[in-house]
Structures are given as structure tokens and as C-alpha cells.
Symmetry: D3
Amino acid sequence: MSTFGLIEYNDASPEVRAIYDDIMTTRKTDWINNFWKAIAHDPATLKRTWESIKEIMAPGALDPLTKELIYVAVSVTNNCNYCIASHTASAVKKGMTTAMFKELQAVIGMANETNKLVTGYQVAIDEQFNLPFGTPK
Amino acid sequence: MSTFGLIEYNDASPEVRAIYDDIMTTRKTDWINNFWKAIAHDPATLKRTWESIKEIMAPGALDPLTKELIYVAVSVTNNCNYCIASHTASAVKKGMTTAMFKELQAVIGMANETNKLVTGYQVAIDEQFNLPFGTPK
Amino acid sequence: MSTFGLIEYNDASPEVRAIYDDIMTTRKTDWINNFWKAIAHDPATLKRTWESIKEIMAPGALDPLTKELIYVAVSVTNNCNYCIASHTASAVKKGMTTAMFKELQAVIGMANETNKLVTGYQVAIDEQFNLPFGTPK
Amino acid sequence: MSTFGLIEYNDASPEVRAIYDDIMTTRKTDWINNFWKAIAHDPATLKRTWESIKEIMAPGALDPLTKELIYVAVSVTNNCNYCIASHTASAVKKGMTTAMFKELQAVIGMANETNKLVTGYQVAIDEQFNLPFGTPK
Amino acid sequence: MSTFGLIEYNDASPEVRAIYDDIMTTRKTDWINNFWKAIAHDPATLKRTWESIKEIMAPGALDPLTKELIYVAVSVTNNCNYCIASHTASAVKKGMTTAMFKELQAVIGMANETNKLVTGYQVAIDEQFNLPFGTPK
Amino acid sequence: MSTFGLIEYNDASPEVRAIYDDIMTTRKTDWINNFWKAIAHDPATLKRTWESIKEIMAPGALDPLTKELIYVAVSVTNNCNYCIASHTASAVKKGMTTAMFKELQAVIGMANETNKLVTGYQVAIDEQFNLPFGTPK
């Protein structure tokens, strides 16, 4: 179904295999999901995307689970079913409980509603929100 | 600029004032932001929205800061400037550091990119992701 | 601010003027709003868009006010401020009361929320909804 | 396919059953569609969403059919297939004819087109549209 | 699956057949894709949409392949799977190579990412970009 | 207005300056637009974004102007005013004429309309479009 089919590990070039290996090592898993096998037709995009994801999703000021929750929130808002499936799975793996899942969905739903109420009523931004953004800590 | 103007506390009906009071008490603040003053023209919507927000954004399986980060992620994806301003301010108040802000934006940007790569390549969902959703914990 | 500036009636070609005249006659008004003056730089797009709008927004199985409410619903969901301003004004002209405006916004907000709850929970379509679409009446 | 499966009436808690009963009574129907069975895993969201929908979709300044048309317009713009299926069915039940359906789709399509022409040409809002919003009636 | 089913050539009215004929002649093909068969239930929309598409997608300042790439970019951003499938096929027919496809997707993904970084950081427009738009040529 | 203000060249760290220099050299320009100055608060994002853009927007199977047109199409569909302003300016610099601009907008508008007609009528994908994607050339 993917536009060009999927590139399996055994059929991959050494360049692509090296990335597949890094994905599996980084994620402590023994399989590659379809997203990577689909974009592997474009090794430059595969490499750039993986390296960006690896850097962005690593533990930092935000923990990996929080980052997955944010990823799911964007994916639901964009209506990307594949992304919802894969990042929900990742979030579960990183510790998302069903209670967290439900609260996540409730916040996503509410935010989408108030985003539109704000837009429909054409609410002007409060001066208080225009002040400089807190103080870096 | 708001469609009907804003309803200030002193001009509000007792019904609306009661909600304004609850907002200020719940948020430990002494002012009401424009969103509430704009939708106060429709007291039923004001009441329903505030009660929903109050319930959804309360501490639960997810802490209040995480919920604000999710709110910002939806608002950026939906391109709602008012919502970005107000929920970024709320997130700062609840402890978002600038380091967290930067990581939040990086994840939002990346998620929006891969959502579209998935869509453009029409990637089929992996069987592994179709399995029942983890085990409630 | 419009990309190429606005083409005023007095500066318009006979071809563009004829469309401006038809817009004013059809709408029983004596001015042209900026949208038409902006796209008048491309007379083919001006003509095609006006003729389509004129045909689509005419009274039919749905009355003109209902059509404007639908137009506002799309414009709010798409976050198009110009479109919200112009079609809210048109709706008022066609009889939208403030009570209708408030209910319109409440429905738009709610629909945006449940659209995302459906997506987040990945709800499968009920067999009942897959049945053939009613009977033409 | 729904993330946690569906909660059928016979397996539901008394709290959830009470809401299912209210849905069926209010809608004069003898079955519950999947959306409610999916979010029933989170009784708080089920209750809040049902009560909001019940209040918002009730007859008011806008009749129930007009509200369903608006719901469909949002759902099409958001590309939510489940929502399109369920609210198209509701609209038919409330009297939408095929002629109305066709005009609805034509308006949705046109609004999405002009929303983007406005954005692409960066059209500034006419002063006339900035005037206060009509007079409450 | 289409709401009203599809209108095949043999079952079409003379009015609809004339449009089907024009589509096949213009596109040098001997079949009609489902989009047209679905909207043929509304001959006015069928006629208006086909005439607009025919005019807009014709060779002009932009060549037909470039127009198809733009169409795919919009369709991916809107997450419209049918549109992606049909316009990717059209683009291939007009000369899109796999190398072009990959670059197209990379640009779409990147644009979606930076669109959101711009929004998340609330970047103000540079004065240089507010200058009048080049010189018409 | 940008969340943290803008980092000017003279105030930038050597790491950031090196990227600013590369941007100006690559683009043959002597100034840096606000996007880069805004995200420079997060040097990792600045670096990753610039390197990705540089790679993706370079001449390849698609020429740089075509890539800018695609970028504008995504930005208009996403309603990102900054992105529209900056990429319209880039497109002009790379040779976009006003005739091209008008055709670009017409295609974007049309694509957004038919995307929604397809969705509203729930059109099923033609078997012909499910065939493997052409032959790599």
C-alpha cells in the first residue's frame, strides 16, 4: 500500500541497513516499522528523518514519555492514523497507562474545541500574554 | 475585536460573575482573560466550557504542566495564536522552563513533518500496532 | 497588504467592472469587498469564483442563511479570519441573530472536539452507517 | 479497532448504562453507536461529552437539522470519516434530503476554496467588517 | 462506498455523459475515475468542477506537471487519501519520476515542519517581506 | 513578538554565527530573516533545520523554483502567514512571475475544494490508482 512498497532489511543497501541497525539499537527492539521501510526508498530522507527524530526524542528537559504524548496530540489533531497507532504504541512502551491515555485524549479534544471557540469569537490577545515570555531558567 | 466585545466583571450578571469567581479562585489569580469575557455573552457556553476545562486540566494521571504542553501542541498545530499565547503563559506559570519550551517546539515541528511523510508515502499500519492496546495498569 | 494591492472600480478593466457590477446587483449593495478587489488581478479566477459563488449561494434546497452558517463553520475550522469576518457579516445581513451566532459557535466547537475524540480513540464506523444513504426525497 | 474495544450495554457499569439509556431515550433509538461505546472506557469523558452534545444539539435558535449540517461541514473540513458517516446519518434522520446534501457539499467545497484564495492573496479585512457585530435581536 | 454510489457512463443522463466525454477527450483516456462518478449525482457541481479543473490545470505560466505536484502537496497536507492517489497517478502520467516524487515529499514534510516552528515561536514578519510583491512581468 | 525575541548577528554565539554565515552565503544575501533569529534560541533546532532545508531545497530532480511553489502551497493550506510571506518572496527571487503566482493560487484553491468534495462524498479509491506506482525512471 505504501507508494513504492517496503524495503525489508535483507533487501536494503548497506547505507539503509546501517540506519535500520541504529534504529533497532536505539529503540532496543528487533524489528523496523513500516514508516522507515517506506521512506527508505529515499535514503537521504531516511537518514535525515531518523537523525532528527533520534536527537529530538532523546531524554532532555522533557522526558521521553512526555514527548510521545505531545507526538500523539499532534497526530490526532492532524488525523494521521498511522502516526496515532505508532506513537500510541511507543507511548505505552514508555509507560503510558490507560488512565494517562484517557486524560491525553480529553485534553486533545478540549483544546480542539476551545481553539475554535477562540477563533469563532475572534478573541483578541490579552496584554498580559504579550509580555516577554517569563525568564529563562 | 472580539465579536461582541468583552464582558467585564462589573458588567456581568450574577451567573457570569459566579463563574468568573470560580475561575479566579481555581487559578489563584485576580483577573479574567479575554477568552472567558468573550464567550460570557453565551452563559451556557461559558459554564459548560469552564466546567469541562476545570475537570480536564485538574491534576490526574497526567500532571497539570504536561496537560498544558499538550494544549500548546494542539494550538500550534491548529495555528491558534490566542491559544498559543494563553497556554504558553499557563505552562510557564506551571513550571515550563525555556529548555522545555524549545524541546516542545522541536517535537511539534517533527511530528508535523513525519505526519506528512507518512501520508505522502501512504504507509500501511504495521500488524504489531493493530494488536490490542497494551494492558491497563 | 494584499499581495498585489486592490483593484478599485475606477481602475478596473471593463471585464472586471462587469463582474463588480454583477456582484453589487446580485447582493443589492454599493460596494465591493477586498476579496474581489484582490483576486481581480487574475480576471479568470475572479470570474470563475464569482460565478461559482453566485450559483452555490443562491436559494435552493437550503436557504441562503443556512448556507452562510455553513460557510462560517468551515471558515472557523480553517482559521480564516477574513472569511469569518466577511461571512459573519453576510449571515447577519441574511438574518442571523446573536442567539443563532452563539449556537453556531457552540456546535462548531463541539464538532471539533468530538472529531478529535473519534480520531484519538480510532473509532470504527458502525455497520448501520455503512448502509446506503437514505432514499432521495 | 477502537483503541480499547467497545463497551457493550450488557458489560457496562450502572453509571455508563444510565448514560446509554439517556442517549437512546433522547434520540428515540434502541441502539448505541460506536463512538459512545469507545469513550465509555472513560466514564467522565462519556458523561461530559454526552451532556454537552445533548445541550448543544437541542432545538434552539437553530433547528436540529441546521445543527447537523454544521456538524457535517466541520467534519468534512477536518476529514473525520466516522463523524461524516454518523452525522450524515443523523441529518438524514432529521430531514436532510439528497438535494440538501448536494448543496451542503457544494458550499463546503466552495468555502474551502475561497478560504485558501483569501489566504494566498493575503487579503486585508475591510473596515466595514470591523464594525461592531450588528445589533442583538 | 461513495455516499450515493457511482453513476456509470451507461446509466448517465445525456448532460452527464457529455461531461464524461469531455473529460475522456481532454485527458486522452477511456475511463472516468470515481470522483466524477460520485459527484455526477449533482450535475451542476459536476459541470462547474470539471470546467474549473479543465481551465486551471491547462498549460499556462506553469506546466501541467508542476500543477499536479502542487495538487499533491495540498492533498498530502489535507490528508486526503483519494486525492493523493489520483493526483500522484496524474503526476506520473505527466512525467513525474520517482526522484521527483521523493523530493516532492521531502519538501512537503519540511514545509509542514517549519510552518509549525514559525507558529510555535510566533515569528513576526520581516519588513523586507512586507514590501510590494516584486514587479509584474 | 517572537516568543523570546530575536538573536541578532552581533549578539550571536560563534556556533549560531557560523550558521547565519552559511545561510547568507548559500542564499547569496546579506541579511538573516526573523525565522532563523527566532529559533536561534535553540541552536540544535537552528542547525538541524537549516541543514535540512539546505539539503532539501537544493537543485535536484525538481528545480528550486518548483520547490518554492510547493512550499507556498503547503503554507497557504496551513494558513501560515509568515511562511507565505517568506516563501512567496523566495519564489519571486527564483523567478516566479505574477502569472505563475496567479496560477499557483488557482491550483491551491481548486485542490482545497476538490479535497473536500472527495471527502464529503466519501469517494472510494479506483482500483487503477492502487496499481504499483509507475516505473522508476
